[in-house]
């Protein structure tokens, strides 16, 4: 038939109203167009993400720096040194051992800290501790009496408890090894505040090759027998402008067709344009997932426990010592979050998102009468010290066992890659590996005492920032426009649960089945 010039009122009205209809597209559309037109401009954001990860890892390391303990130790050394020659004779020429009694309520109970440090003394220091030097000297661990160090420390606590008049405010120092680390953290945050300036979008690409117009070519082919090539595109909107009357339509069109060297125009256009691969915005995919997990734990010995000073290394006992006969059971946890994937290469997909993880395990314990228990720590400088707690949890060797749950609830930003092992549009098998920093939102920790007899509750030993790796293999398939992702997932906590001065590494390992959906 004919070009449309005979629109009825119905059709005209439909056209008028349809043309008035407008919809505001979402931001996603322009982002997809922009990323397609300027593919290079997404690298700055990826670079920023990498810098952010490195920063977080650095912060994680600094977060566990116990350098503040050295300052406290130094302060204590200043308080104690040069006061009593007799006490100096008891200790090594370049070192002295000090006890700082710390008394403060923890959950209605007293918590005692016993610090054994090895620092050079400062003879110039003057303080109010002079008159108590003899008393304090009782608490000093003798170099030649290493085996009795814990006993001596306990004795010191007892003596100090009995004689409160030996301790005034000047001598009480609270040992907070992570305080400086936290300061460092805040400083780092301040210093590394990024003024994110995205690179000039215009300058990121010099030029883009033109795209071969497949669509237009097809269109031209379809219309080549009817449409004048030199007609403007707007002519299609209003067919009345193209042909003035029905009778002249066929004749005019025929004349135009005969005068048109369509093939030569098409060839010229084809020669002038280059094909580029068009990346669909569907490269970006959001997946929401959840995974029931079973949380387990593994322990390993830290390297610095082997280089601890000779007189304290014997007190470093690890919680995974088989002689303790401890029993731990797995605990059900969960993992949930949102994952954004962006296809970067043919089979590789960049992955990031937000992930919430609850993970933990149970320590089998038993209730006992409140008693003192101690934990030994080693700082970076191989300086060992102990910390006393009051606890009413035994090591679970008696019949009436109760579970003590060690857990952490974390939010993390995993970043990684997904590799398409096999698949087609409907079903795929992918392998995924991510790593990401995590912030511990909630935590609890029961730690076996150094003698292996008691469990001590001290959540402050748990790191606030950690790093976790995910490994999994998922099968993805589409059902009713919804893409399902199901497969095994393993989460391994890369950094130890506890801060660096705890002489054992603990790593959570979660095994789960991840179920995710995307559109």
């Amino acid at each position: 038939m004919e070009r449309r010039f005979d629109m009825s009122d119905f059709e005209r009205s439909l056209k008028d109203h349809a043309d008035q209809f407008k919809l505001v597209p979402s931001k996603r559309v322009w982002n997809g167009i922009y990323n397609n037109l300027h593919p290079g401009s997404k690298w700055p954001s990826i670079s920023i993400a990498i810098v952010l990860i490195i920063t977080l890892i650095s912060i994680g390391n600094l977060n566990n720096s116990p350098t503040h303990s050295n300052k406290n130790s130094q302060l204590t050394a200043n308080n104690m040194s040069g006061k009593n020659e007799s006490s100096d004779q008891l200790v090594d020429n370049n070192s002295s051992k000090k006890n700082v009694f710390q008394k403060h309520a923890v959950s209605g109970q007293f918590q005692n800290t016993n610090i054994i440090s090895k620092q050079p003394s400062n003879s110039n220091s003057k303080n109010s501790f002079e008159s108590d030097a003899d008393k304090v000297s009782q608490n000093i661990v003798m170099k030649e009496n290493n085996n009795e160090k814990i006993s001596a420390s306990s004795l010191a606590i007892t003596d100090a408890s009995k004689n409160n008049n030996y301790i005034n405010r000047n001598q009480i120092s609270f040992y907070e090894p992570n305080q400086e680390a936290e300061n460092n953290f805040s400083n780092e945050k301040g210093n590394k505040e990024v003024n994110t300036t995205f690179s000039n979008r215009n300058s990121s690409i010099e030029s883009l090759p033109m795209i071969q117009n497949d669509l237009l070519s097809e269109t031209i082919i379809s219309f080549k027998n009817e449409i004048p090539v030199h007609a403007s595109f707007s002519d299609f909107i209003n067919p009345f402008q193209i042909l003035p009357s029905f009778n002249s339509t066929v004749n005019t069109a025929s004349k135009l067709i005969t005068n048109t060297d369509f093939n030569s125009q098409k060839a010229t256009a084809t020669a002038n344009v280059k094909k580029i691969k068009r990346k669909k915005n569907k490269n970006v995919e959001w997946t929401f997932y959840a995974a029931p997990t079973i949380g387990t734990v593994s322990f390993s010995k830290k390297g610095n426990t082997t280089v601890s000073s000779s007189n304290v290394s014997s007190v470093i006992i690890l919680p995974n010592d088989p002689s303790f006969g401890l029993k731990r059971t797995a605990k059900i946890g969960f993992e949930t979050g949102a994952e954004m994937s962006y296809k970067i290469f043919r089979k590789f997909t960049f992955i990031t998102g937000a992930n919430f993880t609850y993970s933990g395990y149970n320590n089998m314990s038993n209730l006992i009468h409140p008693t003192f228990a101690s934990l030994n720590f080693v700082d970076r400088n191989s300086i060992s010290y102990s910390k006393s707690y009051v606890t009413n949890y035994g090591n679970g060797q008696s019949p009436n066992r109760i579970p003590l749950t060690n857990y952490s609830f974390e939010v993390s930003v995993p970043i990684g890659l997904k590799y398409n092992i096999w698949g087609n549009e409907k079903i795929q098998i992918n392998a995924v590996s991510t790593v990401g920093p995590s912030i511990v939102l909630k935590k609890n920790a029961f730690i076996i005492s150094s003698d292996g007899k008691y469990y001590i509750n001290d959540a402050s030993l748990v790191r606030n920032i950690n790093l976790a790796g995910h490994f999994g293999s998922y099968i993805s398939f589409s059902v009713n426009k919804i893409k399902w992702h199901i497969g095994p997932d393993i989460r391994y906590q890369l950094l130890s649960t506890y801060k660096s001065y705890y002489p054992s590494k603990e790593h959570f390992i979660d095994y789960g089945i991840r179920i995710g959906i995307s559109r």
């Binding site: 349809a18 037109l37 215009n202 795209i211 595109f233 909107i237």
Partner: protein
Amino acid sequence: MVQGCLDNLSIAQEALYNRFSPRMLGVCYRYARNREDAEDMLQEGFIKIYSQIRQYHGSGALEGWIRKIIVHTCINVLKKNKKFSDSLDLIHASGIEISENNIPSMLQAKQVVECIRLLPIGYRTVLNLYAIEGFSHKEISAILEIEESTSRSQYTRARSLLEEILIKKKILQKPHETVRMVSMSR
């Protein structure tokens, strides 16, 4: 703006997009199954527009040229969909009376578009191309790769069904016994 797009300036590209995207999304929306599909069509169409803008010589309205590419992008997307092809094959012309007397007077744009979207995809596409875009049945048959008679019958049924919908929705007033309500049996 066009020159900026030729120079691959993102500011000009964004300006062009901001100016024409709402209306073009309205066009896509009439062809698509849902808004997400419409946005995908719009995105694909604009990528083609930017890549082919050298072919626009300024001889006609820019909006018309953009609209043409958008419409053909929509058609290409639909043609990739197997259900669309099936829906076209199912249609056969049959005697359906159409009355020209029922002129919609109080049509609201959104209501009309939503009513159009209630039509089956095959009907809707032909109706869009014929009634709104102004293509002839011959052109439609070439674009959709169907018989010209199929295009006619599709349009006839589409229009009849649309009228029925518009009357049911009380957007279109039923004239005095001039409209035969045609029950569509598929």
